[in-house]
Symmetry: C2
Subunit: 308 residues, 2 copies
């Protein structure tokens, strides 16, 4: 039995791609099961409720030497804790790569807008049948990761796949559906500050001893984050120290306006961000216009800086 | 224009997969050209002569910022010198992975017996047409890398693809063809000792400061290598020092008997090999039975040792 896992701080794309890939493998008579590495966010919960799908089980550790399939990530820092005791047999992803394996394994990485796009492509290419429920989950993953085509990570293929999937899913108004998803994602109730930061949080290992944490809050209600600025900054300082990070950022992304508001742990992190993104400190907030994608607009700039 | 390149010390699989992939991309209206990073070996030359195919141009440096496609390798140490100035846009390979990218790129890695198998699969899956000439080149790559199915890297898919390809290529006796290839590979004339070591030579970066060079000579005439033992060992010492390697090995693989004879630069390298492969020193030669594959039988043992 193979374990299919998405990344920690799971989002809609990682959960839906893993779950639908379980079905794809089942159709190939390969026994596999999808698990979530943590609680689903409110957007993902909304999607599962809307389409009447059972949420995948949570898992925190996988038995030693088990075979695992990584969906929507490939870096150790974003995966299950005991990954070094496990046998990675396959990777499907749409992110940059930082990877070392002992032996040749099956890897399919494509620079599409979502991992759900890659899974959808696999169905269409192989002619396997997609149920309306699975088509809906794949659509949700594409819409979530591309911010319904607002993100610069969007490709023509994502749009074509969305059209083909919706012939099966039959969602009447996709823009309305996407706004419902974004509002669900923005409805964070009385979320605890650390949970807020870690909602969509990744640690990147840019170079030896240069670990950076970058959390993103994609929202239609930026004030929810901005008004909690002081407690967020305090918590960022704590996480930075506890996890021995070189830097840590929390970016509030206004999905509809396509704007980013970044909070930093301290002066040092703030200085680096201002330098890299040519912005300024406005009362503890670093504003960047037209920046919505950590992957396409934030990460490459950090990566280039550290590769110099 | 994209540059398609195989690894340095090119072999039949790396050259044939790159060249045929040029045709595949052409059929997709993508402009690309295959190049060889060094001289073709005698086996590859035999194949090109037999099927009347023009050898790809050699190249040693590619203009800065050019787009490149890596065939049959993914590690920097096995690629073109100025790889850090180039833009890797795609990787097709069947080896273990050691890779870091700045951005998401297209990666297709599959644990098949050869890169030519992956290219063949792409044609059959997409329904694109393979010319008899290209089918012959793909067959040559599969047969060369799997030692005509003798290597433990061989998969059922390699055998199936060989059968499908030969319906197009129409090579009358594949076993006879493979022996012709192996004999051509073994016919090394008055080759210089360093060239002999570097015929199929790769440097692996096992860990910080733990670079190992491993050269392989697959042959039907092991005596050709064994009788030059003393000069080979002397040259191994020189390369080890010049390239600042932690260790260096030269393995003479008897294709037909499926046996390996390893030569080492010094006592230190010899000790490690004896420990890892549970063998003994017989007059400066370390014999291992049933070991023909660097990738499947040698590399994983080194890798595991250094990951401990």
């Amino acid at each position: 039995m193979k374990y299919i896992i998405g990344h920690i701080s799971p989002d809609t794309d990682t959960i839906c791609s893993a779950l639908v890939y379980e079905d794809y493998l089942k159709q190939k008579n390969i026994e596999a099961k999808a698990y979530a590495l943590g609680h689903l966010n409110n957007e993902t919960k909304f999607v599962f409720k809307k389409f009447n799908v059972k949420e995948p089980e949570h898992i925190h550790e996988i038995p030693k030497n088990s075979e695992i399939i990584l969906l929507d990530h490939n870096e150790e820092t974003q995966s299950i804790n005991n990954i070094n005791d496990l046998d990675i047999v396959e990777i499907i992803d749409h992110h940059k790569v930082k990877l070392e394996t002992d032996k040749p394994i099956r890897i399919h990485i494509e620079p599409l807008g979502s991992s759900c796009s890659i899974i959808a492509k696999k169905y269409f290419k192989s002619g396997r049948e997609i149920s309306p429920q699975n088509a809906s989950l794949l659509l949700a993953g594409i819409i979530s990761d591309t911010l319904h085509f607002r993100s610069p990570t969007t490709t023509d293929q994502d749009k074509e796949l969305t059209e083909k999937l919706n012939k099966i899913a039959q969602i009447e108004d996709l823009e309305k559906f996407s706004l419902e998803m974004f509002n669900a994602k923005s409805d964070l109730g009385n979320i605890d500050t650390e949970e807020l930061i870690k909602l969509d949080y990744k640690v990147f290992d840019f170079a030896e001893g240069q670990k950076f944490g970058i959390g993103v809050m994609e929202t239609t209600d930026k004030e929810f984050g901005l008004k909690r600025k002081d407690e967020i900054v305090k918590k960022l300082k704590e996480i930075k120290e506890k996890d021995n990070l070189q830097g840590i950022y929390f970016m509030i992304i206004d999905i509809l306006e396509e704007e980013g508001y970044t909070l930093c742990a301290d002066e040092e992190d703030s200085k680096l961000f201002i330098k890299l993104f040519n912005t300024e400190d406005q009362n503890g907030v670093l504003f960047v216009d037209n920046v919505v994608s950590r992957k396409k607009q934030i990460m490459p700039i950090f990566q280039q800086y550290f590769n110099k």
